[in-house]
């Protein structure tokens, strides 16, 4: 049996309140209001208070400089990265972010006679509260306790075997984009894996490119926007050129369930790469695997400042489709982006839907001359 503590949802308890607290609070708020009123009436200037419990701005500036600081945007504070660190996610595939002894619980590779590899994965669906912006928790449905789910990466012709255990509260599946037999498509009701059950998805990795997987249980919208999706990369037999490789899954979260996202991001956490820039080296090629799984909005996009890049749509062909600085995708569309940062410095990147950008889908790539 696989240790699951890591993926267990965190318990929340609501605070108890007593009648006495209520009365005291009422009394003090009346007294407080009177006092504030008096102060106001007599024109006393109130200095801004920064109590021990109060927050101060961190994104892009400091509120301490009030009132001369510029008007900055973004969230306040930082997330807890113990469970999921978006920076680690960028270059984590086949569970290479886990220590070897733990990794073998979820991933094993075996060489085959024809030179290809058998790759065996264990995926577990669990309900888990995840932090999608500092202090904002979302009751997600996850693969292995993280959103996006673990990235699967294989070489074309490899044989994949994914053992899927559903320990969540609803029926789930894993539906892969890629060649496979319809019997393992994970889309029809008789293919739903019910809570407590398990299923093995087995197929050969093809075609070459950047793909995705997601839950195909119904209602579809909810199963996707609750967090059941991830990246599936198939490398060509002839390896791609050497590059710094980054996985970016464009997603969004409807925290109040009004069919409209409150948070947008790449790799789940709003503004995370603003606060923690992605470090790359100047002059060295960078390859980004971009996948759009944003629910509710017809399209999403990626724009990188101050550079131009080659776009390989779906990553299935070796010729560049476009040389641009902005690429647009509908849900499940994906692309490989290749570029080189000429100058050291901070390059902003974001959705070029300003609304998404200001709701979290914005970050910084920091290029430096030193090795990263």
């Amino acid at each position: 049996m696989i240790p699951l503590n890591k993926f267990m949802p965190t318990k929340t308890t609501s605070g108890r309140h007593s009648r006495r607290n209520f009365l005291l609070a009422g009394m003090f708020s009346v007294l407080g209001a009177l006092w504030v009123g008096l102060q106001k009436l007599f024109g006393r200037n109130q200095a801004m208070q920064y109590g021990p419990d109060s927050l101060s701005a961190t994104a892009g500036g400091s509120a301490d400089a009030f009132p001369h600081s510029p008007h900055v945007f973004g969230t306040v504070g930082d997330i807890h990265t113990d469970d999921f660190d978006p920076t680690d996610f960028l270059s984590a595939w086949n569970f290479n972010d886990l220590p070897p002894e733990e990794r073998s619980d979820y991933y094993q590779e075996t060489s085959r006679a024809d030179g290809s590899t058998l790759r065996e994965y264990t995926f577990i669906a669990v309900d888990k509260e995840i932090e999608i912006a500092p202090g904002v928790y979302f009751p997600a449905w996850t693969y292995n306790g993280q959103v996006p789910g673990p990235t699967i990466r294989a070489t074309e012709g490899d044989h994949l075997r994914i053992r899927f255990l559903n320990q969540g509260s609803h029926p789930h599946t894993i539906h892969f984009h890629g060649w496979h037999h319809p019997a393992v498509d994970g889309a029809f009701p008789d293919q739903f894996v019910h809570p407590g059950e398990e299923f093995v998805y087995e197929f050969d990795a093809e075609p070459t490119g950047v793909h995705l997987y997601h839950c195909h249980s119904t209602p579809l919208k909810r199963h996707i926007h609750k967090g059941l999706y991830g990246a599936y990369i198939v490398d060509p037999v002839e390896p791609r050129s050497e590059a710094r490789e980054l996985v970016m899954v464009m997603n969004g979260f409807d925290t109040n369930f009004d069919a409209d996202n409150e948070v947008y991001a790449v790799n789940t956490v709003a503004f995370h790469y603003m606060n923690h820039p992605i470090r790359v080296r100047t002059g060295k090629p960078v390859r980004i695997y971009v996948i759009n799984v944003t629910e509710f909005d017809p399209i999403n996009s990626l724009h990188i400042h101050a550079v131009f890049f080659d776009v390989y749509r779906t990553g299935t062909r070796t010729t560049s489709h476009e040389y641009t600085d902005t690429v647009m995708m509908c849900q499940a569309e994906r692309a490989i982006i290749e570029c080189t940062f000429r100058y050291p410095g901070r390059y902003m990147f974001h959705a070029h839907q300003s609304e998404f950008a200001e709701l979290g889908w914005m970050g910084v790539i920091e290029a430096t001359d030193a090795p990263v």
Binding site: H17, N21, F22, D53, L55, P67, S69, F73, T75, P139
Partner: protein, 423 residues
């Protein structure tokens, strides 16, 4: 109390014994109730009552202040939100959005608010004059609570100039018109009973309109209040409280005056306060409270940028409120009333407008608005009751054609002048 101390009386002895057991019986349910609370608190209401549902959160943004400060190089613009936790459970404000963009903020005194606790959120945000903004709070559970600013204008901050503006507003709208109305006093001398009754009916019409206006306004605000503040209960309590209190006071005064107690009668004569003068004062008080509510409405509308204070509005209020002065003097029209009394009545009715404008302009609170409006309405209805009672002393024919006409005319005058001042 004397009885209890007198232990020699066997009768009382018996009462004491009884009272001991009576006290025990009175206290027993309370003790048991205490025990029940202790059991619930320490042993829980049983697993069956507990749920794993997310807590119901309900935050209310009660007020949004917008400020701007100009410096040599730049302009700093701020937003200040006043937030109340109207829900039963502890709620944490995690992030703040303005117009669908996350924005940095500071929050005092704390992020996590218990039931009915308040917080103040400060943001540097480049709000745009004359345009609309929407602020959304997102809690730790992802629930969102929004409030809009329809027309963004700089909120008045307590300063001498704003104090001056609001005072002037109060003088124009409250004091001057009321005193103009009082100037009719000499003209009303020596009128006949019949004319007097038409005048009183006219006054009742005016007052009825004011009472309805205050109740409607109070109801409208009460329905906007956070549910836990029980706006309707406040409205009813304010109305009933002032009505009953004033009824009790005027009854007591009248009874004392009627029983001809030498001293009191002298005092009343000296002070020139007959029952009618008291009615006049009560009317002044009721109108004063109504004007306090009116001041609140004007002040807050001005502060929220909802009205442009054109000359039309001031003229409208002047016409509207002049009739209030008439309402005050009609019960004492045929009496000898010292000028000082008239001045006091005018001030009592007019000055609250200034107070209301101050409060409404600087720290508008819907709760207090409901309370003041309902108290005013209760006072006015009590006055209407008193005037009718007074009229029946002179005659048993109350609703004559003339009186009904007067009543309708009073209502119509208020209605028509009210058309000019739709805030």
């Amino acid at each position: 109390m004397n009885k209890l101390n007198n232990t020699s009386n066997p009768d009382t002895e018996k009462t004491r014994g009884n009272s001991f057991s009576r006290w025990t019986l009175i206290l027993l349910p309370l003790v048991l109730l205490g025990l029940l609370i202790v059991i619930i608190l320490f042993f829980g209401p049983g697993q069956g009552l507990r749920t794993n549902f997310p807590p119901v959160e309900d935050l209310v943004i009660q007020r949004i202040e917008l400020h701007r400060e100009d410096f040599a190089q730049n302009t700093s613009r701020e937003m200040i939100l006043h937030v109340l936790n109207n829900g039963p459970s502890k709620t944490t404000i995690s992030q703040v959005m303005v117009d669908e963009a996350y924005w940095p903020f500071t929050i005092t005194p704390k992020q996590s608010l218990g039931h009915l606790e308040r917080a103040r959120i400060h943001m540097l945000y480049p709000w745009v004059e004359g345009e609309a903004h929407e602020i959304t709070l997102i809690t730790s559970t992802g629930a969102t609570f929004s409030k809009g600013v329809d027309v963004a204008v700089s909120s008045p901050t307590p300063s001498w100039s704003y104090l001056g503006i609001f005072s002037l507003l109060g003088v124009y709208v409250g004091i001057i018109p009321v005193f103009l109305g009082l100037l009719w006093f000499p003209a009303l001398r020596n009128i006949r009973t019949r004319t007097m009754h038409i005048l009183l009916s006219f006054t009742v019409g005016l007052l009825a309109f004011l009472a309805l206006d205050a109740i409607a306004e109070g109801l409208e605000i009460a329905l906007r209040l956070p549910e836990s503040l029980e706006g309707i209960a406040v409205l009813v309590a304010g109305f009933a409280g002032s009505f009953l209190f004033l009824s009790a006071v005027s009854r007591r005064t009248r009874e004392r005056a009627e029983t001809e107690q030498e001293e009191f009668a002298d005092k009343v004569r000296q002070a020139n306060t007959g029952p009618q003068v008291i009615i006049a004062y009560t009317i002044a008080l009721g109108i004063g409270l109504h004007n306090l509510g009116e001041g609140l409405a004007i002040g807050s509308a001005y502060a929220l940028g909802n009205i442009a204070l054109g000359s039309m509005l001031v003229i409208g209020f002047a016409l509207h409120n002049t009739t209030e002065g008439l309402a005050i003097i009609s019960p004492v029209a045929r009496k000898q009333v010292r000028v000082t009394h008239l001045i006091w009545m005018g001030l009592l009715a007019g000055v609250p407008t200034i107070l209301g404008a101050w409060i409404g302009g600087f720290t508008y609170s819907a709760f207090w608005a409901v309370l003041f409006l309902s108290i005013g309405a209760g006072a006015i209805v009590q006055v209407v009751h008193t005037i009718f009672t007074q009229m029946t002393v002179d005659t048993d024919r109350l609703l004559t054609v003339r009186n009904t006409f007067g009543l309708g005319a009073g209502f119509a005058v208020m209605y028509l002048t009210g058309l000019l001042v739709a805030v």
